[in-house]
Symmetry: C2
Subunit: 349 residues, 2 copies
């Protein structure tokens, strides 16, 4: 209802003089911050393309370049820690541009008094994740701030990848008739973090899906070089990701709720907490927009990959309702799926 | 005395289970952290080269790649703010590798409640500094943490530059007989920050030297491609920088105190506060190790550049006392200049 109202009668967001937690949510407030502050100040046409990575021509090479800071809380969670997450997150942003991830930088902001045993565990997970993903952490920096001026450790990773020739991936490429493919269950990461942070024991084996997706992307591109774009639905969830693509491409999207894979534990937790899995963060899932003629082969390639075993076709791109994502619910009704408006789950990554 | 003792009779640093402010100082504790935690975990031979930037061959291009997080306090200071500093710092790390700086990423960690007016001022200074330095901020990320979990804003910038062919710069290249050239006065940045932070009004016009040094490097390389290496003496100051080069090259160094340019205000503040300008951070100065036959021409080029007007030859590389930096004081005595041991000025950049 609220979402329908927002779309039907757009009113400006309440003016704020100060940064809110929601400005880091990956939803509408984040987009406002990007547009109103960063784009204006930096004036970079490449930045304004709003891809998850910049594509640059440097000395004859076509590079992908992307950055992410990690402030996840708690630092350790089922399925990973801030170290492994910081590698997976940036590797995935490179992979979503079709790039082969090559090199990472690592910047640490550590709070005075942080325990070395924890720092060692985090950096070792980071090194291990990097080696598994075939990337090398080649440059780094460490700052220490006084107790109370940070929160344990924050990590920035920035990555360089090599984009193969002939690729033209962009969130602006979706066309009516395209299929929307999702590589697995929604919400595993977000619900795991929330459950550990709030001390809600969901009494399950649910863990973060944090993983490096570049080999999944490689296997998908091996069967179709015509894939329109890849995105990993992290902060803001699948809903925000698809809204962004729909907006950039000037197309509509219709999803089929029954086809969207969600684990029982996640569904139960979401119901209990009043959350919608479409808005919950993932760290090891991708969504791809694929021309219909290649959709079957691409889905097959996804299902054959260990990280795509629960892949599904979850919807189609439409000419109708451009810029808008609509879902057919399991009850046979339809509702609009807007971009995340406020601040659902802070410090999820 | 304490420094002499440390060198004459090296004892292990006191074991610590927790990260101290000094681990971020750029001195000996930072080096320990790098060696004991990060190198072991990441196992990257490129990282272990200990240059200020990684040099990478990617798709036929020779790239420089470097990262820095900025936590300076206060955020605004005479001569700049955290935004301009975050551009200059990373541009300079690229420049010290002889690279032409091309692209930056920007990662923000903002504390909830931070004022938009301040964020706008910071990002505008950042954009302006980038445009002046000819670099483009092409990718970014913003995270927001709860009030009390950060301190205003922290910024990570990571840079890509292009290394021209034929360059072989390394801190391991210094040879006996080489001259040590410094591009201007020491300590301006550190003393400015300290003075503003502690509310000590030194009643002067002293301001941070924060500046992009890539055109100075370019002008120096134009007269000699045989320069051994460049370094910008930031955290840990000139003393730590020269100790690092002496150690890496297995050479000694002898400095002449009378030849080292220090502003009267900085000298006075240092005397009052018990600081040594050799350990105070700079953000717009470089030191170069230059073969003696090219030294005159390189110094001339430095003096002709607006950022090198106070350049001087401050010492020589020696075969004697390898790994050790010695200074001839204005009183005619000699003393050993060790790497910064503890934690002189936290959050200086």
């Amino acid at each position: 209802m609220g979402q329908l109202f927002t779309l039907a009668c757009p009113v400006p967001l309440p003016a704020t003089e100060r940064v809110l937690l929601g400005h880091g949510s990956g939803g509408r407030l984040s987009a406002d911050l990007l547009r109103d502050v960063f784009f204006k100040a930096f004036r970079s046409p490449i930045l304004a393309q709003l891809e998850d990575q910049a594509t640059l021509d440097v000395g004859g090479a076509r590079l992908a370049f992307t950055t992410d800071s990690f402030v996840v809380k708690p630092l350790f969670f089922r399925g990973g820690n801030i170290g492994s997450l910081s590698v997976h997150g940036t590797v995935n942003d490179l992979a979503m541009g079709g790039a082969q991830p090559l090199y990472l930088s690592a910047g640490f902001i550590i709070e005075e008094g942080f325990e070395f045993t924890a720092l060692r565990a985090i950096t070792e997970a980071m090194g291990e994740a990097a080696r598994c993903a075939g990337v090398d952490i080649v440059t780094g920096d460490t700052k220490v701030v006084e107790k109370g001026s940070g929160d344990g450790v924050f990590i920035n990773t920035t990555g360089i990848g090599l984009v193969p020739p002939g690729l033209n991936l962009s969130a602006a490429n979706a066309r009516p008739g395209d299929h929307i493919l999702l590589s697995g269950t929604l919400g595993d990461h977000g619900i795991t973090i929330l459950s550990e942070r709030e001390g809600i024991g969901f009494d399950s084996l649910l863990e973060s899906d944090s993983a490096a997706l570049h080999t999944l992307v490689r296997d998908m591109l091996a069967v179709s070089m015509r894939i329109r774009c890849f995105r990993d639905p992290t902060r803001g969830g699948l809903a925000s990701t698809l809204n962004e693509i729909a907006g950039r491409s000037g197309v509509g999207m219709t999803l089929s709720e029954v086809d969207i894979p969600v684990r029982e534990e996640v569904r139960g937790a979401c119901e209990m907490l009043g959350l919608d899995p479409l808005y919950v963060a993932n760290e090891g899932k991708l969504v791809a927009i694929v021309p219909p003629e290649d959709s079957e082969a691409v889905l097959e390639a996804m299902l054959c990959h260990p990280l795509g075993a629960n892949s599904a076709r979850i919807g189609v791109v439409t000419e109708a309702h451009p810029g808008m994502v609509v879902i057919r619910t399991t009850f046979g009704t339809s509702r609009i799926v807007d971009m995340l408006a406020g601040d659902q789950l802070p410090r999820i990554c």
